[in-house]
């Protein structure tokens, strides 16, 4: 059953078309990696999933609910979809623990104690129990991104979106974040990840989507994608990122 379904999605910025008739789906428990050159529309596509970006044509359906429909309670829907950003986007004026409890308390209506307990568990899980009372600016990039993942998980999401979660990190910190993501995938979390980490894709992805100039050029099972991508553009792209 589809967790995320996109049907003929098109979006324009003025007269510039960022997304061209994009259709795909992510089934429950599936991990789908989205890759493609910079500027191809990956971030825009993933932001359309939880309506952080509006789109003019097509439809996005999450767990049976149409994201773009006028009556949709977007905050409630978004609360069930975790999102992790390239630049972490932790709230700098809140402690790590407060970053983890804000949504639980204000959106889910949990009590402070319950939210804290959940926060402690998740920090433990990403190996940052000791940092609970620090502030984001006092953590390394890798640590911040792990906190960001814990913050998203604190809301008990039904699926997770990642937008290049490791591309702003120093190389030595990439693995600590990927390890958390791999673990999450292996536990059966539904994930849509914009990422160029092909090692990660090989390890846990079910499918790989390749985008170019606003189009989904390739949407293939991992084995097919790495075995022999059908389109020339995908072949070129792969040879570029795999050979350095």
């Amino acid at each position: 059953m589809a967790m995320i379904e996109m049907k003929n999605l098109s979006k324009w910025y003025g007269s510039f078309q960022v997304l061209k008739d994009c259709s795909t789906r992510v089934d429950r428990g599936e991990v789908v990696v989205v890759c493609g050159p910079s500027g191809s529309g990956k971030s825009t596509l993933i932001k359309c999933v939880n309506a952080l970006e509006r789109f003019q044509q097509g439809e996005v359906i999450i767990d049976g609910i149409s994201v773009g429909a006028p009556g949709t309670d977007l905050p409630r829907l978004r609360a069930r979809v975790g999102m992790v950003f390239q630049h972490f986007e932790l709230f700098p004026h809140l402690s790590i623990m407060e970053n983890l409890t804000l949504g639980q308390i204000r959106v889910l209506g949990r009590g402070a104690d319950e939210a804290r307990d959940k926060g402690v568990k998740l920090l433990e899980r990403v190996g940052l129990r000791e940092q609970a009372e620090k502030f984001p600016g006092q953590l390394s990039g890798g640590q911040q991104q792990r906190v960001a993942i814990a913050r998203a998980l604190a809301m008990d999401p039904m699926c997770m979106l990642f937008d290049e979660p490791t591309s702003a990190l120093d190389p030595e910190m990439i693995n600590e974040v990927l390890d958390v993501m791999v673990e999450l995938a292996q536990e059966g979390m539904t994930m849509m990840c914009v990422s160029h980490e092909m090692g990660f894709a090989r390890k846990v992805a079910n499918r790989v989507i390749f985008m170019d100039r606003g189009e989904i050029v390739e949407d293939a099972l991992k084995e097919d994608f790495f075995g022999k991508p059908r389109s020339e553009r995908a072949q070129q792209f792969l040879s570029k990122i795999l050979h350095h």
Partner: protein, 236 residues
């Protein structure tokens, strides 16, 4: 010519059963009251109007822009007279309102336009990702402002708000134009009555400077207190 200081002038009776010193301090009290009340209005309205200038609704943003343009582009003294003379003659019930209140609103709204400008700039200086992150966790747009954007925006704009706070003390002197017995009006009247303009103006200048200094220190304290750990210049 031989100048002789005559500070005893402050111990003279004003003719109303109090000394000039007494009068001066009560005038200082009016200055502080006008400034403090106007400051509260300026911060409240400035926060709201500045926020509205950054929301996705075109209508709200336009209204907020109009507010800023209106109150920023008319000279303060003219605004005071409009509040005091023009509006009450158009709307009679306002004639009953004490001039203190009118001045507080005039000065408050004038300053709110400037504060709104700072708040807008503060919000817009934050990365777009902060707004996305707030919304993505399910906060509503107002909640995203309340818990994510405004707390950081206000921290960023403490320095310009310090100078607005000092300006509001200085600008409160226009209240003399509608006969509020604040420091500037005291200075004008006392020097006339006593012919000791030098002592009177020096004392009043001293009080204005003392006030500005105190505001400056207070804001520096606030800046220190709200500083985010792990950012540039933070204590830890």
């Amino acid at each position: 010519m031989n100048f002789r200081w005559e500070w005893e002038v402050f111990l003279r009776d004003t003719g109303g059963g109090e000394t000039y010193l007494h009068w001066m301090f009560s005038a200082w009290g009016w200055t502080l009251s006008v400034a403090a009340c106007a400051w509260i209005i300026a911060i409240l309205f400035g926060a709201v109007i500045g926020t509205l200038r950054t929301v996705p609704s075109l209508l709200l943003a336009r209204l907020a822009n109009a507010w800023v343009e209106l109150f920023r582009n008319i000279p303060l003294l003219v605004q005071i007279f409009i509040w005091y003379h023009v509006i009450p003659s158009l709307y009679k019930p306002l004639q009953e309102v004490p001039s203190f209140i009118l001045v507080v609103f005039a000065l408050g709204f004038f300053t709110s336009a400037r504060v709104a400008e700072q708040v807008r700039a503060g919000i817009q200086s934050l990365p777009d990702g902060q707004r996305y992150a707030g919304l993505a966790m399910g906060l509503t747009l107002p909640q995203t402002y309340r818990f994510v954007l405004l707390p950081m925006a206000f921290r960023i704009i403490v320095p310009p708000l310090t100078s607005e706070s000092m300006n509001i003390i200085k600008n409160s002197s226009v209240a003399f134009a509608v006969s509020i017995s604040e420091l500037t009006l005291f200075a004008l009247q006392a020097q006339e009555e006593t012919s000791r303009g030098i002592e009177v103006y020096l004392a009043v200048t001293g009080l204005y400077m003392l006030t500005a200094f105190a505001v400056n220190r207070l804001m520096a304290f606030v800046e220190q207190r709200v500083r985010v750990p792990g950012t540039l210049g933070a204590a830890r």
